[in-house]
């Protein structure tokens, strides 16, 4: 049976990290075995008592003591309520939920495309690759509206040391790259064409990225997206996050692009046996 009751989560610390965004350190009280089996790209449900419950992604995965990090941008009543909580506050936790990023695919050269807060669900994969725990050669392009809106300042500084990490802003200052990540695709693909693409950001950016990747010869089954949807239960019951016959909270939020098209009912041709291979 599912359990809709949260467990205790403690707010350990926080610091400002981008426009209207905060980096939170949290600790699951009495962590269970399942709490340590989180895959980057999965999500948890955070209860701010009195303000409701909403899905957030793991910025770092829970350790033996149940400590992990999350990045939250102030958008509505719940996040406003969270920003008002003092250090030590008791919050609620349920998770992990959903499907994470693929970690065992054979592609060697992987391009990560992130937009805005979409960098956060990808942080676990980037961290693993930058510490050489995944056999991947990762390139990252991160787009934001402007430099003040960029998140994960400390993590980006670390990643720049070990990865090809490109940043671009819609409203760029002198010496900054300008435009959306897509504006730099020619350059990225000319240097060393990736074999697979992982993308997270606004849905329009993800769909445009997928199409641009297809045009450059990457098959749909080597493109992955992570969808944002309103979610209330994370158990495929409340109905809010539907996508075709699926619920993004259970069947996503990470989708292979061919699967996404199939589920969305876009009339995409059924994948052939060859297309279904992961490598």
């Amino acid at each position: 049976m599912i359990d809709l009751t949260p467990r205790k989560l403690l707010l350990l610390d926080h610091y400002a990290d981008g426009e209207e965004a905060r980096h939170f350190s949290l600790r699951i009280d009495k962590p269970l075995a399942g709490d340590l089996a989180v895959i980057p790209g999965q999500f948890f449900m955070l209860t701010v008592p009195g303000f409701g419950e909403a899905p957030f992604t793991y910025l770092s995965l829970p350790d033996q003591q149940g400590r992990f990090n999350a990045l939250v941008r102030r958008m509505g009543a719940l996040t406003q309520g969270l920003f008002e909580q003092p250090v030590g506050a008791v919050l609620g936790y349920r998770g992990p939920f959903g499907k994470g990023w693929p970690l065992f695919f054979c592609a060697h050269r992987v391009l990560v495309v992130a937009g805005g807060c979409g960098l956060v669900p990808l942080a676990g994969v980037i961290d693993e690759a930058s510490q050489h725990r995944l056999p991947l050669q990762l390139s990252v392009i991160y787009g934001a509206r402007h430099s003040a809106a960029q998140v994960l300042g400390r993590e980006r500084e670390r990643w720049r040391q070990t990865l090809r990490f490109m940043e671009t802003c819609d409203e760029a200052k002198p010496l900054e790259r300008q435009g959306s990540p897509l504006d730099h695709f020619d350059e990225l693909f000319a240097a060393e064409a990736p074999e697979a693409v992982l993308c997270c950001g606004p849905e329009a950016l993800m769909l445009a990225t997928a199409e641009a990747s297809l045009q450059r010869g990457i098959a749909a089954h080597k493109i992955w997206l992570s969808l944002e949807r309103r979610m209330h239960c994370a158990d495929g019951l409340c109905g809010h996050c539907y996508l075709g016959t699926e619920y993004v909270c259970k069947d996503g939020p990470t989708y292979r692009y061919d699967r996404y098209l199939q589920v969305r009912g876009a009339g995409y041709p059924t994948a052939t046996k060859q297309d279904q291979r992961l490598c």
Binding site: K8, C233, H240
Partner: protein, 340 residues
């Protein structure tokens, strides 16, 4: 199935009421129909309604408002409903099909299952079609299917004075203990088959429903048609409230004292404008047409049928009766097929 001859369904109802809370739909004398608690001493005649009651059995298991947990400022405490053994007496085949559909959907929901597992279902076959029903088209009725109820009442077409009582489960068998009933001598299978033929004839071919389902699944209904239908949707949630298979819900937090709160869940509707809207403002189903399309795809989509082995529509016709915009099932299918 074991079959008995039952002189009076009221005798069965009174017997069940000795050990269960028995609920039955009754008219209020003013045109309304409501689920009411019936005592063991109540011998009011059992008269199955000719039309499905406005409210199906849905709320008995999936409560319209439900407490999920309490928080006292330091700890979270689960709450499960306190359940008593209960009987729903006289459910039509269409509504029993809906219960079976929701049993699968809520298989892992402890609140739903707590109530469901304490419930005995007594179905009743329909001898005639209700006005807007099409159970024979979607395969939900008019005869109650074996796995859908614990006990099945079969009224007689001829002038026989008794009813037939079929035992459809172990729980049904156990519930009859202490009630002495003679075995049925009538050819009840033949009678039920004849009833089904009669209802199917009364309902007719319902070609617009059949053709509409085909069009919907073939992707032949264009966005313009859905938006035209969407214009007629007031977002009132009448259809989703009355539909016996609709199951969407939303959480509501309620502050009790400065540091304590409780969370409830309440019925929600995919036809509300903000149903899918995210905190960022992005709304994957921003137009009324998209939301109306979603509702009907959920009821008649082959993808859902593959998951649940049945359509999400059980053919009860409640949406036709409740929709102020005239886009209940017949209204939609007529417009889709005939481009009205």
């Amino acid at each position: 199935m074991q079959a008995y001859s039952l002189d009076q369904p009221e005798r069965l109802r009174a017997h069940l009421a000795l050990q269960h809370h028995v609920y039955e739909v009754r008219g209020d004398g003013q045109g309304g129909q409501h689920w009411e608690l019936v005592s063991a001493r109540d011998f009011t005649a059992f008269e199955p309604a000719a039309e499905p009651p406005p409210f199906s059995a849905k709320s008995f298991f999936f409560a319209e408002r439900e407490l999920l947990f309490r928080f006292d400022g330091g700890q979270f405490y689960s709450t499960l409903p306190a359940v008593e053994p209960q009987v729903l007496f006289g459910l039509h085949a269409c509504d029993l099909q809906a219960v079976a559909y929701q049993d699968r959907f809520f298989a892992e929901d402890p609140h739903y299952q707590a109530r469901r597992q304490a419930t005995l279902l007594v179905g009743v076959d329909c001898l005639h079609s209700c006005e807007g029903g099409f159970c024979s088209i979607v395969g939900s009725g008019p005869a109650v299917r074996e796995q859908r109820a614990d006990l099945i009442l079969v009224p007689r077409q001829d002038h026989a004075t008794d009813w037939l009582l079929l035992v459809a489960s172990e729980a049904g068998h156990a519930a009859l203990r202490g009630l002495r009933l003679p075995e049925a001598t009538a050819d009840w299978q033949a009678e039920r088959s004849a009833n089904q033929v009669c209802v199917a004839e009364e309902q007719g071919p319902q070609q617009e429903i059949v053709d509409g389902i085909v069009s919907l699944n073939a992707g032949k209904i264009d966005a313009e048609t859905w938006e035209a239908l969407g214009l007629r949707c007031l977002g009132c949630s009448g259809c989703t409230t009355e539909c016996p298979t609709c199951s969407c819900y939303a959480p509501q937090d309620r502050l009790n004292a400065p540091a304590s709160m409780q969370r409830e869940r309440v019925w929600d509707s995919c036809l509300y404008q903000g149903f899918q809207q995210e905190a960022s403002g992005h709304n994957p189903s921003a137009t009324p047409g998209q939301r109306v399309q979603r509702f009907w795809s959920h009821k008649f989509g082959d993808g859902f049928k593959a998951q649940f082995e049945a359509y999400g529509c059980v053919g009860c016709g409640r949406c036709d009766r409740v929709c102020p915009g005239g886009i209940g099932v017949h209204g939609v299918m007529q417009r889709v097929v005939h481009h009205d």
